[in-house]
């Protein structure tokens, strides 16, 4: 009996020791990972790309004829995998219509197999070659003949937007069509600040009142989503660009809000800073 008791005590000591070691190792790993990522993040403060900005890779403009496409993807991103079929169709259509397709991947070596099996073909680039910050994957950038971004689509696209992209690839002259770029225009806070100097804009925050009271951007008008279809025509100026603060929303939800605004007869843009929900966060900084 005494032996059994001693064995139990020893077992308890061993388990406790193992637990302590595991917790200590976990804490050390977390601390290392956190400090390492913070250190690398400090290295790169890349500007975020916005509509109208020149799209540069390795310092040179990306362009080709009437339009070009830059697809930023990753084999480890689940939303990229979910969009695999669309990306395959896009690469086929781009090749058929002589539209250059550039594919930016985290590492050419590790992504080669993924692109091969997914049958996505194009001119491969590395993320580190890009002259701007990637906010999330997948990101699809439509570039006009001047090398400027005409549309920046972050996250897995809804089917209607996929169709719209394919239509533009089939007829590149549509790239300047206002409906698409207006409907999906994404502005960073800095860009919005610049934009409002030259154009009449109104910033709306579609959160509920309680949320708005806790946190909102300066100058934002609070119109909760549910009230938007009614209040928009009473309170918003049709000659202004309606900028929806989409920072906390998924691409799909942001699209739905912007569709509502467009349907009501307003030009709309989304203010999005940070990573949208149905895109994969790019946590690793690029040197």
């Amino acid at each position: 009996m005494e032996r059994l008791n001693r064995l139990i005590k020893e077992a308890i000591v061993v388990i406790v020791a193992a637990l302590v070691v595991t917790v200590a190792a976990g804490a050390a790993f977390t601390w290392y990972a956190h400090s390492h990522s913070a250190a690398t993040a400090k290295k790169t403060i890349m500007p975020e790309l916005s509509v109208g900005d020149p799209v540069k890779v390795n310092g040179s403009l990306l362009s080709g004829g009437s339009m070009a496409i830059l697809l930023i993807t990753s084999p480890t991103c689940r939303y990229c995998l979910a969009s695999k079929q669309f990306h395959k169709t896009l690469s086929t259509e781009a090749a058929a219509n002589h539209v250059p397709l550039y594919i930016a991947v985290p590492s050419k070596k590790t992504s080669e197999l993924y692109l091969k099996t997914a049958e996505i073909t194009g001119d491969q680039k590395s993320w580190s070659d890009l002259g701007f910050r990637i906010t999330g994957t997948p990101t699809l950038i439509l570039i006009d003949s001047t090398g400027a971004a005409r549309a920046i689509l972050v996250g897995q696209l809804p089917p209607a937007s996929e169709m719209e992209v394919l239509k533009i690839v089939q007829d590149p002259s549509q790239i300047k069509a206002a409906g698409f770029t207006d409907g999906r225009m994404r502005l960073s806070v800095a860009q919005y600040t610049d934009f409002r100097k030259s154009q009449k804009t109104v910033l709306i925050d579609v959160h509920e009142r309680e949320e708005y009271k806790i946190l909102h951007r300066d100058g934002a008008i609070n119109i909760p989503i549910i009230e938007l279809p009614i209040r928009a025509s009473f309170e918003l100026d049709r000659s202004s660009l309606v900028v929806v603060d989409c920072s906390q929303y998924s691409t799909a939800k942001c699209d739905a809000i912007m569709k509502t605004v467009s349907r009501l007869g307003f030009k709309s843009a989304a203010l999005s800073e940070g990573v949208l929900v149905n895109s994969c966060k790019v946590s690793r900084a690029i040197d």
Binding site: R209, I226, E227, P229, I230, R231, S233, F234, R263
Partner: protein, 140 residues
Amino acid sequence: MTRAIRVLFGAMLISFHARADLVGFVGCMVLRRSAEVVVLPDYPQSAISRGVAGIVVVQVRYGPGPTVNSVRVLDAPDQETASATVEAVKKWKFRTPPIASTKGPGEKSGRLIFYFRIVNGKPAVVDAAGEAMRTSPNPK
């Protein structure tokens, strides 16, 4: 075994009560369309003299009958316009909208929006959804 049956029975009772307490939320237009009796708020004299204007948004609960069960003010420029709106909305009567039948057997809830405006010195209360219905009979 008996204990398990008791727990199961208790869970069933709780879920039944939860179901009975369900509130079907309806959009502003659906709510406004289902209104059969509409009473616009009076613009309070003191608010007019003080030049108080703005938006009043109320959350209305009604059902299963046509009468209003409760009115909660979400937004108002002052207490008087809020009270005037609550008094008026309490007199509204609704029919059960078809869409709400799928949203539970209990109460229905939605928002009503009113603009209290003084244009060229003339006070006016605008029922926003009613006005939207008038200008666009079938908005999506």
